[in-house]
């Protein structure tokens, strides 16, 4: 058995500690050690984006990050997107535009869209599509997702579409 390592990190603003196998991924740690099951595993190889989190300000697939790498880092997950019971505008727009069907890819898409709007508050449709190309959705055909993201971006810029 590999030696487990003690990791301290900040997840959604809160300090956390856990013990982890060196081969465990950040996604494993979030889901199994910290009980944050909002990040999903769709592929385990960085090809679907369902496990997207923001690590030290960078959008990453948590299945492609070792849990041990999180030592001293800041992690933001879907569970930290809303402000308490107040939904983030992206979450609200996803609901209003029916931008989800089964909902499995939704947490990863929302985290990725949040990272997009942090980096580029006024994306074109094409920019939004390319930024979100790493988040597979098999239900919606992306149409309503893109509309929701564009609408949320406008609201965050305090414009109306």
């Amino acid at each position: 058995m590999s030696k487990r390592q003690h990791i301290s990190a900040v997840v959604n603003g809160d300090p956390v500690e856990f013990l982890t196998d060196p081969r465990a991924t950040l996604l494993d740690a979030l889901r199994d050690d910290l009980g944050l099951t909002g990040s999903k595993e769709g592929c385990g190889s960085g090809d679907c984006g369902a496990c997207s989190v923001i690590l030290d300000g960078r959008l990453v697939c948590s299945c492609l990050v070792l849990a041990v790498e999180a030592e001293g880092r800041r992690v933001e997950t879907i569970e930290g997107l809303a402000d308490g019971s107040k939904l983030h505008p992206l979450q609200q727009k996803f609901l209003e535009h029916a931008a989800l069907q089964c909902g499995f890819c939704t947490p990863g898409l929302l985290v990725a869209a949040k990272a997009l709007l942090d980096a580029n508050p006024n994306p074109t449709e094409s920019e939004a599509r390319y930024w979100l190309a790493g988040n597979l959705c098999r239900c919606t055909g992306y149409d309503k997702i893109i509309r929701a993201v564009m609408d949320a971006a406008a609201e965050l810029r305090q414009e109306t579409v």
Partner: protein, 763 residues
């Protein structure tokens, strides 16, 4: 209560006054799904839970000589190991529980190989251990001795007389005489009408081609996952992401020889299914591991396992020959469909045959289908099973016919369109269909007249799906504050909680926020067939509506009691019981007021309806697609896409649009890039999302939808199933657009860049 089996067609509830149905409220389960709280199959953790893993065959065809589990059993932390020896050896028996009748022996052998591994990825053993690392280690320590057998993957190769035979006991069904030797052709099926030879002799124009499609996967983002717990008293619990908790219960009972009454299945949220989660792979194995270990066991597939060991849909080889008069009247059609079913019989070639010509009124035709086993994963349902495949061939041929005739492709289809009263190619007579209206919707759409640039092409294709009804149960309970709960037995895969709540709210005259829907476990609601076949909004919606209507009748009775008037002097209007005689001066009684006084008028207010819904209206879709082809690289860009569909009545238009857009996206992926690729050793080479290329956001344009509403008189609000139809036309719509762009007919899917470049270079 049971529905009357042949209920006469009722007029849909008056469309003009609908307050909730047809609006776009926020889905009731939405907040959980945008905050990460919704619990899917892999999200559940139970105290003492073990982690399961499955050992799979690396060979596409091999006799299992022996399985040695001793070293794995000796590993500390390993709590259970099962092989086929731990499952009953079932007799061959057809059983109706999932998507269509399944052979229980085949089902069981697909869950765990007994003597022979029939495809790369076939389960041969499973372990449960205290950690995933130990489970992985244990899997590696299980030694399986194989005798590798010759294998066959391609459908026509499997049909050849000298092909390696998968099942020595299988003789082709449907031949005039019983064959004298076993074959991989499980079944031959034919549908015929008229005099084909004479009709072709009369035809002015004949088009003919051979078409090939690759096996493709539903590609749901959530891998199969479940947790199972077998208690010391034999009571079993299963939590599972599937399209039907009752289907899981039945199949677990059959595969493990348990009583259905001893199994309680709770549906977890489901992360996409598209037909692929209409059978069992993991649940019986998890239960067997739990029975042996005494602890709950979680089994979750990796993406690699999903591709290799769950059910894709068939690869196919097809021939289509069409004959028409010079005025465009199609008088003859000859269709041959050869479908790969995977390791066990049961491809969707039957439905493909029945849908192949369903949009056309053709007097003479022959449709022959072959169901062929191969050393590949057993196929599962995929959205309108079979129909997109045969539509690809037929709609390509019709497009060629339009070009040969110099006719507009919509006009050609209108000329030959089925209408009310026409006898469908698959037998029955059409009623209340909206096909011609849907063709007109595309013909009149600005997209259809928009100019095209160089290297661009436009393709049209149509599609059909039967839609089904079937058994459903729903309960509606009024709370003491006048709000309501709707309980159904159908997993919500794409927003059905919203439509159930909306239909109940409409009937009860309540705002949608006052109606909460839940999806119940198998012990908490009566039987329902699974969520699939585009049946939930239709059939379960009918049960919900009828349960709400029973409550309305009850409320009228109670209101009349409280008003002290005869029940025939009250009515239910806008969520209140009103006295029809204003002279009596009775104040209206709202649902809330009646609920508050329920104790005085007979106790709690609730109703449950179980029915077997008939009369699901068939659906038609007409799609138009513009592409641009890079002539030097063969790369195809989808520029614009518009899909029109007869939906009967859109209960929640946003989710109807979503179904259409999602079906289109899957169809575009099928047309352009998705395929199972096998190496010469019969192993899948692209079992991951990197090389199994489903469309990403930047691959697609916005997908415009047109909802045509030709009401289905058999549904209280006029609804027809909508989920299947939209995947039927896109394969051919894209291929026909590519034909327009490059001037060459591409007959083999996917239309990948190397194939297109080669076709262009062939000159």
């Amino acid at each position: 209560m049971s529905d009357v089996l042949d209920r006469p067609a009722a007029a849909p509830l008056d469309d003009g006054h609908l307050k909730v149905v047809g609006t776009r409220p926020i889905r009731p389960d939405g907040a959980d799904k945008v905050t990460g709280k919704a619990a899917y199959g892999a999200d559940l953790a139970l105290p003492g839970m073990l982690v399961g893993r499955i050992k799979r065959s690396p060979h596409p065809h091999a006799r299992i000589v022996s399985i040695d589990t001793r070293r794995a059993r000796a590993l500390p932390g390993v709590k259970a190991i099962v092989t086929a020896a731990d499952f009953p050896d079932l007799a061959s028996e057809e059983y109706e529980a999932g998507e269509s009748a399944a052979n229980l022996r085949d089902l069981s052998l697909n869950v765990m190989a007994r003597h022979t591994a029939l495809y790369d990825g076939h389960a041969v053993a499973a372990v449960a251990a205290t950690s995933s690392a130990i489970a992985d280690e244990a899997i590696a320590l299980i030694t399986v001795e194989y005798e590798v057998l010759p294998h066959v993957v391609e459908v026509e190769a499997a049909m050849a007389p000298d092909a390696p035979v998968l099942h020595a006991h299988m003789f082709t069904e449907g031949l005039a005489a019983r064959p004298d030797k076993p074959s991989n052709i499980a079944k031959r099926n034919a549908i015929t009408r008229g005099d084909l030879a004479a009709a072709f002799a009369e035809a002015d124009v004949i088009v003919e081609d051979r078409y090939v499609t690759a096996a493709v996967h539903q590609g749901y983002i959530e891998p199969h996952a479940c947790v199972a717990s077998y208690a010391a008293d034999g009571q079993c619990q299963v939590w599972s992401s599937s399209q039907g908790q009752f289907m899981i219960r039945t199949y677990c009972a059959k595969v493990l020889d348990l009583e259905a009454s001893d199994i309680r299945v709770t549906p977890a949220e489901i992360g996409g299914g598209f037909g692929g989660k209409t059978t069992v792979y993991l649940e019986p194995v998890a239960l067997a591991l739990s029975r042996q270990s005494g602890a709950p066991v979680k089994l979750v597939m990796t993406r690699d396992e999903v591709f290799r060991a769950s059910g894709p849909t068939s690869a196919s080889v097809m021939h289509v020959k069409l004959g028409a008069r010079s005025d465009g009247t199609i008088i003859a059609a000859d269709v041959v469909l050869k479908f790969q079913s995977g390791a066990f019989p049961g491809s969707p070639v039957g439905a493909a045959s029945m849908t192949a010509l369903a949009c056309y009124d053709i007097p003479n035709f022959s449709i022959v289908g072959y169901d062929v086993v191969t050393n590949t994963p057993k196929v599962a349902a995929y959205r309108a099973p079979g129909a997109p495949i045969s539509a690809f061939a037929v709609e390509s041929a019709v497009d060629d016919l339009a070009r040969r005739l110099g006719m507009d492709p919509i006009a050609l289809r209108e000329k030959n369109a089925v209408r009310d009263g026409v006898k469908a190619s698959y037998g029955p007579t059409f009623r209340n269909i909206g096909y011609v209206e849907t063709l007109e919707a595309i013909r009149e759409h600005p997209h259809y007249a928009a100019p095209l640039g160089p290297n661009q092409g436009r393709g049209v294709a149509v599609g059909f799906w039967f839609n089904v009804g079937g058994e459903s149960t729903a309960a509606v309970n009024l709370n003491e504050d006048g709000s309501a709960v709707v309980i159904s037995g159908n997993p919500d895969i794409g927003g059905s909680r919203a439509s159930m709540a909306m239909m109940a709210a409409e009937v009860l005259g309540l705002p949608i926020e006052k109606v909460r829907p839940i999806v119940a476990d198998t012990a908490s609601i009566g039987f329902s067939m699974l969520t699939g076949g585009s049946r939930t909004t239709f059939a379960t919606g009918m049960a919900v509506t009828q349960a709400a209507q029973k409550i309305v009748e009850d409320l009228k009775r109670r209101g009349a009691l409280l008003m002290d008037v005869p029940v025939d002097q009250v009515d239910f209007v806008n969520g209140a019981v009103v006295c029809l005689d204003p002279a009596k001066g009775k104040a209206d009684l709202t649902v809330a007021e009646l609920a508050e006084k329920a104790a005085q008028t007979g106790g709690p207010i609730g109703a449950q309806v179980s029915l077997n819904a008939q009369g699901a209206g068939p659906g038609f879709g007409v799609h138009v697609c513009d592409v641009e082809v890079d002539p030097e690289t063969g790369h195809v860009t989808v520029l614009r896409y518009t899909a029109a569909q007869d939906v009967g009545k859109a209960i929640h238009p946003s989710y109807v649009e979503g179904q259409i857009q999602g079906g289109v996206a899957q169809g575009v992926g099928w047309a352009l890039n998705e395929e199972y690729i096998f190496d010469r050793g019969g192993r899948m080479e692209n079992a991951g999302f990197l090389d199994y290329r489903v469309p990403v956001a930047s691959d697609l344009p916005m997908i415009d939808t047109v909802m045509v509403e030709v009401a289905n008189p058999r549904h209280p609000f006029g609804a027809k199933g909508v989920g299947e139809v939209p995947i039927v036309p896109p394969l051919a719509a894209v291929a026909n657009a590519v034909r327009g762009a490059i001037g060459k007919r591409m007959t083999s899917l996917p239309l990948s860049p190397p194939k297109i470049r080669a076709a262009i270079d062939a000159g």
